[in-house]
């Protein structure tokens, strides 16, 4: 366990993003969609912090808010102690060297008209990091680092497979020697055999370059594989944060329990001893979330208290296991699941 005094690389406090949806009628206020609703967490140097949840839970918005690709409604994002949300555009641009992002769809995130060399050199040029021949040397070094032959530098993205394109995306993200990389569904669009290659690459780069990752994903096995600690999000809120082993074996929040139970098993012999804990129903409308605990409509243990009062996630010390639930369970789970 790390010392508690160590300053986290990133600390998010009460981060909130509300979108106005629809027009306000006359003087009525427009409805609000609480995409991210007051979340807080810390990410320490060298660790991988996973964020999981289903579509619409706010996990990707969280990534965008940290990098200020979207303007937060409220909250603080402290990177090495400095609040990114208070920086002006020029200062933020400087800071972006330290925080980079890898996106889900390598087909959509690379400009099809740029050669690989130019794609990887682009961040270097934008930030005036290197000049002339130094750039080519750095591009070759980066391509080598992510397992692409530098001989391919003159090719266009369409000449590469999905996995190779994701490697190009990773090389771009590494170009400025960042401290933190936000991986937003970075392996979700890839075939399993390729997914494994990219996960392995991310792990080895992390060791080599002492990187810190925020790994956002919906595929629990992949997130578990790579993360040290994991936050589970539901309807814009973090409902549980724990070290991964704790999360997977002693989940406290019923939503986490349901999420784990719904992962398909990895071996057909586990069929019989699998827990039947299938969450009923759908996600409620985010514009009109249920009162009290937003999960109560699907929770098998919900009581009257859950319907009226929202539970809070206690902020505790680093490494603590937290759940936003009136009746945290912490029973030993028999996890049969896998991908």
């Amino acid at each position: 366990m790390r010392s508690l005094k160590e300053e986290p690389l990133l600390e998010v406090r009460g981060l909130t993003k509300h979108f106005d949806v629809g027009k306000g009628w006359f003087n009525r206020k427009p409805a609000q969609l609480k995409a991210v609703d007051g979340i807080s967490f810390k990410v320490h140097r060298g660790e991988t912090f996973g964020i999981v949840g289903e579509s619409g839970c706010g996990k990707s918005t969280t990534g965008s808010l940290i990098l200020r690709l979207m303007q937060a409604t409220a909250g603080e994002v402290l990177f090495e102690g400095e609040d990114l949300l208070k920086l002006n555009n020029h200062q933020m641009r400087e800071r972006r060297k330290d925080i980079q992002m890898i996106f889900q769809d390598p087909y959509a995130s690379l400009n099809p008209r740029m050669k690989v060399r130019d794609l990887i050199a682009e961040p270097l040029l934008t930030h005036h990091m290197l000049e002339g021949a130094q750039i080519d040397a750095r591009v070759a070094e980066l391509m080598d680092m992510v397992g692409l032959s530098p001989a391919y530098a003159k090719r266009y993205p369409h000449e590469f497979s999905g996995g190779q394109r994701q490697r190009i995306g990773i090389a771009r993200a590494l170009a400025l020697k960042p401290k933190l990389i936000i991986c937003d569904e970075a392996v979700s669009a890839l075939d399993v055999s390729i997914q494994a290659q990219i996960l392995n690459l991310l792990s080895s780069l992390q060791k080599e370059l002492k990187l810190t990752y925020i790994f956002i994903g919906h595929g629990l096995p992949a997130v578990k594989h790579i993360s040290d600690r994991i936050a589970v999000m539901y309807m814009g809120k973090i409902v549980e944060i724990a070290a991964k082993e704790q999360l997977f074996h002693q989940a406290m929040h019923p939503y986490t329990e349901g999420l784990l139970a719904s992962i398909p098993i990895s071996d057909p012999t586990q069929r019989s001893d699998r827990q039947e804990f299938i969450l009923e129903g759908d996600l409620p409308s985010p514009v009109n979330p249920p009162p009290g605990c937003t999960f109560h409509t699907r929770c098998p243990y919900a009581t009257d208290l859950c319907k009226s009062e929202a539970p809070t996630l206690q902020t505790g010390e680093y490494g603590g296991h937290l759940a936003a639930c009136h009746y945290p369970r912490q029973k030993d789970l028999k996890v049969a699941g896998s991908y």
């Binding site: 289903e54 055999s193 390729i194 997914q195 629990l220 069929r271």
Partner: protein, 341 residues
């Protein structure tokens, strides 16, 4: 469940597409059978031909694509010889299909009720009132709450999971014995996926529906299938009982797929991955199509393509390793590693 009545048999199916770069054969000599009440998992990565196989069965291959050879038997009928019109009579009635993205396969301009009624009216002689009653009964059967209201709803008003339930209701509304499910849960969240998989199991148990479940997700197969077919680059490379395949995969590709999947119950530093990528159909490697990515490939694999070899009833593999009898893959891998590759 020991009902050995054959519902579907595919024999040496070949489906090809004419392209600028010449003829591309997406499905090359694929054979398998599916019995009543059985769930057959078809696994493979993108481009392996699993979807083209299902489209061929459903009669949905359009020019420039064509079925170039082989036979498809649905019970007593051979489908490749039928006209479009004859196929129409079977589609939706004797065989039905559900797709990955229910929003693109449902008509956004028609209510859910109309879309179910359409199938019932086409294939059954029913009065208007009976059609409506049956439609609502189908919606109820697939676990849709308030079916009377959903009957009047448009697809966009429903969630992804509900839409997939509607698709399933349409698919089973005429009592189809064969359901082809092409990545039915890939676009859904895990908690919703679990609901849909449970529903499909219930269909099988209650209606004895045969399900061809196409997926890239080995977990879904482990959860659902009785038998499994693994496809690679347009060919079946392994077929077997689900327990057998997971316990001891015979083909190096199957083993590679399993090892590259992160597992919840394990902590591993490094995943074993399959090097390289799936070959392009227009530029197939010589010999065994998997040899450029195979850790135990030999000269023979580079030169000559292996055929499907029956190891035991129901267990087949397309790999030179097993030509002179079954080989224990793990042992073989170790032996090769010790011998220096």
């Amino acid at each position: 469940m020991i009902n050995r009545q054959k519902v579907l048999e595919v024999r040496h199916l070949q489906t090809q597409f004419r392209t600028e770069h010449g003829i591309v054969r997406s499905v090359d000599d694929v054979s398998f059978r599916l019995d009543a009440g059985e769930i057959l998992g078809i696994v493979g990565e993108s481009g392996c031909g699993k979807s083209v196989t299902s489209f061929s069965i459903m009669g949905l291959i359009e020019a420039p694509g064509e079925i170039a050879g082989g036979e498809i038997w649905l019970e007593e009928q051979e489908l490749t010889k039928l006209s479009k019109r004859q196929l129409r009579k079977l589609q939706g009635k004797d065989m039905a299909m559900i797709f990955q993205e229910p929003l693109t396969s449902l008509n956004p301009l028609l209510t859910v009720g109309l879309q179910i009624s359409e199938v019932l009216t086409r294939h059954k002689r029913l009065s208007k009132r009976e059609v409506k009653e049956q439609s609502i009964a189908m919606l109820r059967q697939v676990g849709i709450p308030r079916p009377e209201q959903v009957y009047h709803a448009y697809p966009h008003e429903l969630s992804g999971g509900m839409r997939q339930r509607v698709m399933i209701a349409i698919a089973i509304s005429c009592g189809s014995k064969l359901l082809i499910a092409d990545e039915p849960t890939t676009a859904l969240d895990v908690t919703i996926q679990a609901q849909i998989l449970k529903l499909m199991k219930e269909l099988r148990d209650n209606l004895n529906t045969s399900i061809m479940l196409i997926t890239h997700d080995l977990g879904v197969v482990a959860e659902m299938a009785d038998r499994v077919i693994v496809m690679y680059a347009g060919q079946v490379v392994e077929e077997g009982d689900v327990y057998e395949i997971y316990r001891s995969p015979k083909h190096p590709y199957t083993k590679g797929l399993m090892n590259s999947t992160p597992k919840i119950e394990e902590v591993r530093r490094k995943l074993e991955s399959i090097p390289g990528t799936v070959p392009v159909l227009s530029n197939m490697p010589s010999g065994c199509r998997f040899h450029p990515r195979c850790p135990v490939a030999r000269d023979k694999c580079r030169a000559e393509a292996p055929q499907m070899k029956l190891l035991r009833p129901g267990v087949q593999v397309r790999c030179w390793l097993h030509q002179e009898g079954e080989v224990e893959l793990n042992e073989e891998f170790k032996r090769r590693a010790a011998a220096g590759g």
